[in-house]
Amino acid sequence: MKKMAALISSRTVGTPVSAAFVAALTVLLSLGLLSPVLAEDSRVPMPNVTIHNGDKCVEDTEVMRRSHMEFILHQRDRTVHEGIRTKQHSLKNCINCHADPQTQSVLGEDGFCQSCHVYASVKMDCFGCHSSKAEEQIGQRDPESSMTRSLQRPQSTRVWEPRVRIHGRDQ
């Protein structure tokens, strides 16, 4: 909030109109009236991806986020037609690691696959045929060691910063 106010005030050199506008905005900000729009908490429910098993995925997290569907697509053809059942990019391996210890599944409201796909509004076809359950019972790991990754602040993408445009003073 303070940063916002500073950002705005740093640009406040100019006409009395814009100065008045900025002053009004600053007052609003200080009252917290604009907080629902600019606050840290998004209005959109964000997926909270908790990884219960294993410390490391088969590829880097950023690669998996972007390309997991391609890995599974290639692997499925090799498995069905050629009988190649390596674990690295197999759907079974995904599920065995990422299933929730409570439900044993990657589906459900907090399920690893479903929570993200609901957020991204991308329909999954996998589980019309494939089992969404882990092959063997997976136990709850020590909470200290389980990794919780929030998608609210992706590491690799640019951090989103609000741009405030002051009318009448366009660059």
Partner: protein, 244 residues
């Protein structure tokens, strides 16, 4: 050490014959167990041998075991329930002799289901197993009409709690996979053959038809056997003995 020039050349020739001519191209391929990352090859051809004389009337061990292994469940509607294997009863009209035998996908060398499939979903693996790639099956059921053995089923309803061994879902066609998940794990049996042996009948033998040392190849070589509908020249991978 005294090796004559002629002997030396002979040793070299023998050595070269067994060694690779080029990477991946060997003079003598050995049918060894493959690893997870190797594709199936036509060095094997998997099949079943069913001795109809040992098949007991009223026994459904193979059917139950298959459906348990592959998660094929009934909705209580026999007309539309999926059926990977069924016990058929045949009666000789002249003598009245009744025989029971299991019928499943016959894993033909020239499968009619593959010929007619418009998307390429119905296919034959290099090792002779005929499968449906459900990722590309559109559920047209042309293969079901083409199959002379009525071996395929269509899944009409949503499926939940699938087996890890066999993904299956609504809108696709399915049939016996010759327990391909077991074959890929290197196991030399199917659920039906195991169940039949556990019942003490031993009417079903699974194995590699191309391996002359396998039990199935030796049994086929020692006694007469037949295919169902041999007139169609499909060269089935499932063979029968003791058919009257």
């Amino acid at each position: 050490m005294s090796v004559s020039r002629r002997e030396f050349i002979g040793i070299g020739a023998v050595g070269a014959a067994g060694v690779a001519l080029a990477p991946g191209l060997n003079l003598i391929e050995l049918a060894t167990a493959r690893s997870d990352s190797e594709a199936v090859t036509s060095l094997q051809r998997w099949g079943l041998l069913i001795d109809a004389t040992k098949c007991a009337d009223g026994c459904s061990a193979c059917v139950d075991a298959c459906h348990t292994e592959n998660g094929v469940s009934s909705h209580g509607r026999p007309e539309t329930d999926a059926q990977w294997i069924r016990a058929a009863k045949v009666r000789d009209l002249d003598t009245g002799y009744v025989q029971t035998l299991p019928i499943m996908c016959q894993h033909c060398e020239h499968p009619p289901c593959v010929d007619v499939c418009p998307t390429g979903a119905s296919f034959k693996r290099a090792d002779g197993i005929v499968l449906v790639d459900k990722h590309i099956c559109i559920g047209c059921r042309y293969c079901m009409m083409a199959c002379p053995y009525k071996a395929r089923s269509f899944i009409h309803e949503d499926v939940t709690d699938q087996s890890h061994n066999a993904p299956r879902g609504k809108g696709t066609v399915e049939s016996c996979t010759l327990c391909v998940h077991r074959v890929d794990r290197g196991e030399n049996s199917t659920a039906c053959a195991d169940a039949c042996a556990a019942e003490g009948h031993r009417a079903i033998i699974f194995g590699d038809l191309k391996d002359p040392n396998s039990e199935i190849a030796q049994a086929l070589a020692s006694k007469p056997s037949s295919q169902l509908r041999p007139d169609l020249d499909l060269n089935t991978g499932v063979r029968y003995q003791g058919l009257s």
